[in-house]
Amino acid sequence: MNPLRVFIADDEAPARERLRELLTDIAAELPTEVAGEAQNGLETVERLPASGAHVLLLDIQMPGMGGLEVARHLAGLPTAPAVVFVTAHDRHAVEAFELNALDYLMKPVRTERLAAALRKAAAAGPPPKEQLAHAARQPREYLSVVERNRIVLVPVREIVFLRAELKYVTLRTRSAEHLIEEPLVGLEAEFAEQFVRVHRNCLVARAAGSDEEPHWNVVLDGVAERLPVSRRQWAVVRVLVKDA
């Protein structure tokens, strides 16, 4: 049997060390090998895709990007890993996080539980995106685009607009354009604080509105395109432009 490839993500070095030790301890009943390690959220998103990991042991509280958001970006990979969350929070907090539906372990981790969780996660495969989104509760700080086997992160605060086109949503920053596969409705709900709908197919960053030409097109700072504003949405947009 091929060993299970496990990736370890935790910001505390002793915690990673402990997990490596435990993996060695359970080697007889569940052969594993460490596919890679990362010490913060961004590093995990960067390193995991090329590691060929089957399962990710993922600390929830990490600097840079929390574990839940990390898992949401990884879920877009064609070969997304199974995820076992690891947390130092108590059961009460786990319930508050609504992690119940996902696989999780509490620190300090026990060998038996580790073996059982790895086996279960490996059999179940990657966690469903909806469950992750439900557990996350907070809007993401990044949107991600999968390019070949790499994840490109775009900070939400750099996005100027999001426009639905056929199957995709175009995501535009001042310097680049990407296509993402997410429904605009979901994005609108998640980022209601940062974006406003100016048209049936378009969300614009509230912070990016320019008041130079407050007519039937939205002119956006630093972007050449002008976006049409529908009659129905004009009242909303006009208030925003006046406020700016």
Partner: protein, 352 residues
Amino acid sequence: MGHTRKRGALLKHRSMPMSIKQNFTADAVPDFRNLGVMARVLLAVNAFAFAAALTAEPNWSAVLDRFLRAAAMVEPMLLAAMVALYVLSPALARLAYWQGCAAVLAIALAVSGAVHAAVAPPDNGLAALARTLGLTAIAVVSLLAYLRLLTRAYSPALSEARLQALQSRIRPHFLFNSLNAVLSLMRRDPRRAERALEDLADLFRVLMQDNRSFVRLADEIALLERYAAIEQLRLGERLEITWELDTAPQDALLPPMVLQPLLENAVYHGVEPGTGAGRVVVHIERRGARVLVRIENPYFEEHARRAGNRMAQANIRERLQLFFDAEARLATRVAAGRYVVELEMPYRPAKA
């Protein structure tokens, strides 16, 4: 970490029977050097004079006029009496409660008599002097009764209950992460694991004990260092603590577990959210009759917005108030990307 303090000195002093009740015991002569007591006396006497004027005169201008005339007499008496009480306060504190009250009354009567003789027009006879002394006696007795009620309201049962409730709590994630770090050391470095468990034990001993007595600053600093040693184990090079304790008054008394939660906050909000190294500064010094503490850490605006939890600070503020009344101050500010907490309290040396 740049410290080489003796380990093991922590718990010896901790049992010192230095009761916090010195501010709050029901039957103790009020501390006339306490800002809160002074403010209350000033306010009450003036309110008393104003009320007297209010009942004696029919309209507002007459009331004001009478109050101002009374004030010309009352204020010199009040100030002179308060200076006398301030000077004699340590001596008064050594007397039994009733003797102390009698002494306070005698001082107030002597002072107001003297001021009356100096200020009042000479043609006023003995009747006026008797009136002044009578009013002084009423004011003194009612104030002493009021201050006694006030201390009773805070203690002993009520303030003890509140202190229990206010005892600071270590975040559970700190405990479990620390245990996890110790577990990782067990095989590789058993001696270090032992040391870490000893540190944890000391920390929790203090947390769980009855935190109602003042502690010496030296003990509180030892506790900070134990806590820091555990965090260091967990966070490694990410945590960089600069200790500025050269002029810290080791014998100063302060409420227990006031500094540790501030350092814990600094690590939790200032170091853990960062991917790189974070520097925390712990600065303690004595400046005249005050003890100043400054703890600073890197400021993460995004994290602060999301976490938004200042429970520990509210808790400490309330505890400081219970121990020091209006004489302690806790202030926070953000300056040049650093979050700074400043704590100021009166310097009260432990009696050797």
